[in-house]
């Protein structure tokens, strides 16, 4: 995943202690990392805390990264570990509709068309609820490969498996979502 021009060079600089370079990487990757963790956990506050932790770990361990070209897969593997760790710690199924502190729903409320707001809010809630029911290995593959639009090869490196496995996992997640939304929503 290349989000910056001369990304490899910036990674090398950041690894050598250049704070400016590290901040560049942070600014470029914070949204994708946050997106992934948010979809894994379903809670904005948890995702914000976890994103901070991820980049703090990146800052401490970046010098151990041998190949700068693998920065994004390495970053997302840290993000995945953080998300899974938080999931196990919390041990809760997110009841998205009852989560009053979820600012995502508040953000959707700010859109201009009220009817559209309601529909989008409803879809967002249901979709996130369905996502949290998918087993973690399929969920990670779906979020990275479909929602974040990363290549299957990159996702395979992040999750430490083959491209064939990723194909299969994404398919299973898709099939599950189709089945669930077919009952609840007009998919």
């Amino acid at each position: 995943m290349i989000l910056l021009k001369d990304q490899d060079q910036i990674v090398v600089l950041a690894a050598s202690g250049d704070e400016k370079a590290f901040k560049k990487l942070f600014e470029a990757f914070q949204q994708p990392v946050f997106n992934y963790i948010y979809r894994m956990l379903g809670c904005v506050q948890d995702a914000a805390d976890a994103t901070q932790n991820v980049f703090l770990k990146v800052y401490k361990k970046l010098q151990s990264l041998r190949n700068p070209a693998l920065f994004s897969t390495w970053l997302f593997s840290i993000a995945r570990n953080e998300a899974v760790s938080l999931m196990r710690k919390n041990k809760r199924k997110l009841d998205y509709l009852q989560n009053e502190n979820n600012t995502c729903l508040d953000i959707i409320d700010n859109q201009k068309d009220p009817a559209q707001n309601v529909m989008n809010k409803e879809f967002e809630s249901i979709f996130q609820q369905v996502l949290t029911e998918i087993p973690e290995i399929y969920r990670s593959a779906f979020i990275l490969g479909v929602l974040e639009e990363q290549s299957y090869e990159e996702v395979a490196k992040t999750l430490g498996c083959s491209v064939g496995n990723i194909k299969s996992r994404v398919f299973r997640a898709r099939a599950f979502i189709n089945k669930k939304l077919d009952r609840v929503y007009a998919v």
Binding site: Q30, F34, Q52, K60, M119, N120, S168, F171, R174
Partner: protein, 238 residues
């Protein structure tokens, strides 16, 4: 190709992860298989709905401010986690540390003593030269008395005893001077047979020979010179 594999291909095709050949095979199958076509249509519709309706929140500002604050705190404080991370994260640092631990263990095992850097000991005269000087002094005295003696050899018990004692001392002095090929060392070697003769003195004839030898070889002069040499060396060290 079975329907399960086709469905997996459909999923990959929607993510643009299928090569052209497989894509054509999949599309051909979809045309003739209603189950796979149904899956394809539902998956395609889901893709469109996600793109249109799914809203992902922006990263809260607290992430940036919180992270930068923690990085600042990180720079100020030094904790054991960082030390451990530095130690173990750096391969060469870890190898050096292991080598250092191994080296210290070997030194302890070999019980190697480090040199004493407290400085040279305070001496007025080097120990070996002190012993040599005493030896030479006693030798001088004894040979001088012997040279001037007119006594019966049977009455020279004291001198005989002294000679025996000096023979023992000469061994020690020789050991000290073993690696030192100085005049003193040669003199000590020369005196030994003379001292042995004195220690075993039995008849007046033998005494005359010893007295003659002391004169001929200038032992008294050599002894005096050697003693003065030692004293001057001791003063130079001081």
């Amino acid at each position: 190709m079975d329907c399960k594999k086709i469905k997996i291909n459909i999923s990959a095709m929607l993510d643009k992860e299928l090569d052209e050949q497989e894509k054509q095979l999949t599309l051909s199958h979809i045309k003739i298989c209603s189950y796979c076509r149904d899956f394809y249509e539902k998956s395609l519709h889901l893709q469109e709905v996600i793109a249109e309706k799914l809203y992902t929140p922006r990263v809260p500002n607290s992430v940036r401010t919180g992270l930068y604050r923690r990085l600042e705190n990180q720079k100020r404080s030094f904790n054991l986690d960082d030390l451990w991370l530095w130690m173990t994260g750096n391969k060469w640092a870890l190898r050096m540390e292991l080598a250092l631990v191994f080296g210290v263990a070997v030194l302890i095992g070999l019980n190697i003593r480090l040199p004493n850097f407290s400085g040279p000991a305070d001496i007025s005269q080097p120990p070996f030269s002190q012993n040599v000087d005493k030896y030479l002094e006693k030798s001088t005295k004894m040979l001088l008395e012997l040279k001037n003696s007119e006594m019966d050899p049977s009455k020279l018990d004291y001198e005989k005893q002294l000679a025996k004692q000096l023979l023992v001392e000469s061994k020690l002095v020789t050991q000290n001077l073993e690696n030192n090929r100085t005049q003193i060392h040669r003199l000590v070697n020369e005196l030994e047979p003379v001292l042995w003769d004195v220690a075993n003195l039995n008849d007046p004839h033998a005494l005359q020979i010893i007295q003659q030898t002391i004169d001929d070889r200038d032992y008294l002069l050599k002894l005096d010179f050697a003693r003065k040499n030692i004293i001057s060396q001791a003063r130079a060290v001081k």
